[in-house]
């Protein structure tokens, strides 16, 4: 069976000053269309590296990635990335930040008016319409991250890649954004690969949680399917035995089977 997004036998070696460093080895994963995948693992295990290979920003040393029947070997708006630190252009307004990608992707397909409408639509999707003429430094961290998501969604990617999108946010803002992401995922059926450090977040959002072993030569340790029915409600789930069990399994993996490498030495 062939998945929509398929990572096969991916490994990568970095040339560093102190010799070669093998970050990933033999990573295999098949993702269905519309699936929500979370990547979880200890800091430095290679999650971002996997995501960067998916994005085409890094080239795998061996193995490869196939998306929708085509090999991935360069960055493309098909695989839009939400960065941890928003990465908005500070000299452009919220609207212009989204526009930059839209103009590039739809330059032959949409008229000017259609593009404007499409940008507004995506800003509305992440509830940021009221700030569309503000510059990034004038809006809060959560709003910046929303704009980052809108910028990606507006490019109509086949896969949405998110690298710890809510890592820098406070708990309350993070909850709001998680709800927004669930809402958007339900509405658009986008395929999502998200990196997170937050076990609750992983269980709440994902269809499957991919747990990575520690580096060097990190690979996928276990994959946990989360079968909780959607739409999911964080309050109702908090006591739900399935939720608690899933959460327990992830914690077990992270803190028992694959202790944080720094902890071993101590």
């Amino acid at each position: 069976m062939q998945g929509y997004l398929e990572i096969s036998k991916v490994g990568i070696e970095f040339n560093t000053e102190s010799g070669n460093f093998r970050a990933l080895q033999d990573v295999n994963l098949k993702v269905e269309k519309g699936e929500f995948i979370s990547l979880i693992g200890h800091s430095g295990c290679g999650k971002s590296t996997v995501l960067n290979i998916l994005a085409g920003l890094y080239q795998a040393t061996e193995g490869g990635v196939i998306l929708d029947g085509k090999e991935v070997n360069a960055p493309s708006p098909d695989r839009a990335v939400v960065f941890q630190n928003h990465a908005l252009l500070p000299w452009l307004t919220v609207y212009e930040n989204v526009e930059l990608g839209v103009k590039q992707v739809f330059k032959d397909r949409k008229s000017k008016a259609e593009m404007a409408e499409w940008i507004d639509h995506n800003l509305a999707l992440v509830h940021i319409t009221h700030a569309k003429h503000k510059r990034p430094h004038e809006i809060s961290g959560g709003m910046k991250q929303r704009v980052g998501i809108a910028r990606c969604l507006a490019m109509q990617p086949k896969v949405l890649l998110m690298d710890e999108p809510f890592g820098a946010l406070d708990a309350l803002t993070r909850a709001h954004l998680q709800d927004s992401v669930m809402e958007i995922h339900a509405q658009l059926g986008t395929t999502v690969v998200m990196i997170t450090h937050d076990v609750d977040e992983a269980v709440l959002l994902s269809d499957r949680i991919v747990m990575m072993s520690n580096g060097p030569a990190a690979t996928i340790g276990e994959i946990l399917s989360v079968t909780l029915p959607r739409p999911r409600n964080r309050l109702a789930l908090a006591e739900d035995p399935d939720f608690v069990h899933a959460r327990q399994q992830v914690l077990q993996f992270l803190y028992d089977k694959h202790k944080f490498p720094g902890a071993k030495a101590a």
Partner: protein, 367 residues
Amino acid sequence: MRLRTAIASRARSHSGENPEAMKVKDEEKKMHSIISRYAFIKREQTWRFEWSDIPGGVAIAKALRTWSLSIAGILVFLLLWQATANSIDTSLGQFPGPVQVWTQVQNLADEHQRENERRVEFFERQETRNAELLAQDPNAEIRVRPYTGRPTFLDQIQTSLMTVGFGFAIAMLIAIPLGILCGLSETLYSAVNPIIQLFKPVSPLAWLPLVTMVVSALYVSESPMFEKSFITSAITVALCCLWPTVINTTVGVASVDKDLINVSRVICLPTHMHIRKIVLPSAIPLIFTGMRLSLATGWMVLIAAEMLAQNPGLGKFIWDEFQNGSSDSLGRIMVAVLVIGFIGLILDKLMLALQRRVSWDKQTVLR
């Protein structure tokens, strides 16, 4: 003050009994309101002006402070100058103090006025002569000669400004694109860097003879748009003020935030868009730092070049005065020195104003 102590002592005397303590507190409150009212009245009676009372007052106060400090600094400098000048004797007479320099400022202005009048007269005379010629013989050949008077101090300033502007413009047309390319491509940077490092420390005086000879050899045209000397000076300026901009632009372009570059890669921006939308806005602050350094360098270099090459401009003015050796010379040179400094300052302020207009970041304090 006395009221406060009164309250305090009363409070102390009553603090033993608990129900009384409440009463004392009440009383204390009352007293406080009286005190504050009293203070208010008192303030009205001996009304003192506070800057913070008027809108924008704090800013005005701050500006006044800076200004008064600047003026005080200048006054002290003038006094020291006059004192030192009085005790220095040269073969051209006493070293000029502020007073003598001011006299020379007026002299130079008068000379300019006179020269201007002479110029106007010259053209009037020429016109009437030509008109007469035409009246006698409609087919007469009339000649319009340009006026060839001595350039005045103001003319020299104008020449110098034009030269530095032209040289700076040439330099920027080369430096900014080169810097962008070097910042984008590490390969090109590695290739160009040694050349930059080699030529950066070269003095304009070393370039000058070479430039002069090359310009004389190559710049030959029937009716040149610019004087040869103008071109020579401008190219010398350009050669010396290229480097700060090249180096700063390179650094600015090379240090664009990696996340932003990744954004551009994901969006697949074509190179020209990448440069326009991502690289240039990021690098603008450093580009301007480079340009300001370049302009300052260029202005310094120009004076030296004009002096050495006898090309028209402020440098030549100084040299001529020096050769003249009259008792006024030192004063006139001092005027030129001050004017050079003042123009340098204005040029930098202009660049700063331009940066404010161009920069997207209106929040950083520019100095």
